[in-house]
Symmetry: C2
Subunit: 232 residues, 2 copies
């Protein structure tokens, strides 16, 4: 009953972008085309290093934007795997970030979720990266705002990032739901005080830092079903 | 010539502990004994998660000490690998951190390096963990001080950690050399302004964030040789 009452007051949903709405491993195709049979390994290491660099630069107080981070992570991954990446290939792989695929259920599920509440994106990506990928996937209109960490110059899971949500939405923190498939992002948002929905698409191991999600779903369709049921 | 002049003024060397002086993967034996054929995988994931948790908690402004971080990382690693770790095994694995092995060349190399300068440890470890491992390896006497990040409540590579060195040593930053085998730690120390010596024991890929080490060696013996030659 108390959980239901809480949800009735949910005024907005904020979505992580990469890995939640957009499939970062859809760059695997571009990687595979450039380096046959190494696409999966490159794509995975590139992503892991991208996050690691975002954490390290934040902790060092040496913020660089996510395009630069993504570029440096790609260089590292190619060097580590012994892949000779010429300038044209480097650019082509990087630019695949501008036209990532949305997960299949995302457009229809967002349309349902938008009926009763405002939707925004809050992401590590630069404003340009976020504008490009939402446009490429036809999702621009469903979002009220695309919020980039660039406004605070630090990456997730800093509380300064999540604090942008009540500020920009003009709502109390407890009225905002946060949706991410990245376990560390859910942990950071929960520690900040947001209501959290973990989209565990690939049966990942839960984060063990002690800030578990309020609700776990497998897809955004399941999230829409849950919220419909609770608010019915 | 300018590099040589710089070294002549080196008044102290500060060492990272885990991975640099003490072999974190010497816990692999304890892991292997507990989980035959899975020791290497468990040891590696445990270490990776330990660092990741240290970065995330720092960024979240939710510092917990390194013992707690190490414990949570072990739980995660066991869960992820599907290993049922009972309480006694859990305790035994954790306590292997109190008696890690030093790398073979470390005692003799430290004795040489201590002739001309003060030596300290600066580490993520708790004061208790650092006291235990230096005692177990017979290295207590060679160090002037064991400096734990606990004093500032944040983990490497925060500049607040490296700032402890000039404060505690009472020396200018440029008179202090920093020694680590962890690439991210070298990056953080260099960004702070320390002279950095990367001990690349396992031919690791250099960090790509743009703060390369001043000198790269494979062992502490090679570091002692280099410094002897430069200061001769």
């Amino acid at each position: 009953m108390s959980e239901r009452a809480g949800n009735l007051n949910l005024g907005a949903l904020a979505f992580d972008a990469y890995g939640t709405l957009f499939d970062v491993h859809s760059v695997v195709a571009a990687c595979e085309a450039a380096f046959p049979s190494r696409g999966a390994a490159l794509s995975r290491l590139w992503r892991d290093k991208q996050l690691e660099y975002s954490w390290l630069l934040s902790l060092m107080d040496r913020y660089e934007d996510f395009w630069a981070v993504t570029e440096k992570a790609l260089r590292y991954a190619c060097q580590h795997l012994g892949l000779a990446c010429d300038a044209a290939t480097h650019t082509r792989l990087l630019e695949s970030y501008y036209h990532l695929a949305a997960y299949p259920e995302v457009p229809a599920a967002l349309a349902r979720l938008a009926v009763n509440r405002r939707l925004v994106i809050i992401s590590n990506g630069t404003p340009q990266m976020l504008a490009a990928v939402t446009q490429a996937t036809g999702l621009t209109a469903v979002f009220d705002e695309l919020i980039s960490v660039e406004a605070v110059g630090v990456y997730k899971p800093s509380p300064r990032v999540y604090a942008l949500l009540p500020q920009r939405l003009g709502m109390p923190t407890e009225a905002i739901g946060f949706v991410s498939s990245n376990a560390f992002d859910i942990t950071g948002a929960k520690a900040f005080g947001l209501r959290t929905y973990w989209v565990n698409r690939q049966d990942a191991t839960p984060d063990g830092l002690g800030y578990p999600p309020d609700i776990v779903v497998r897809t955004l369709t399941e999230l829409a079903d849950r919220l419909d049921a609770e608010e019915a």
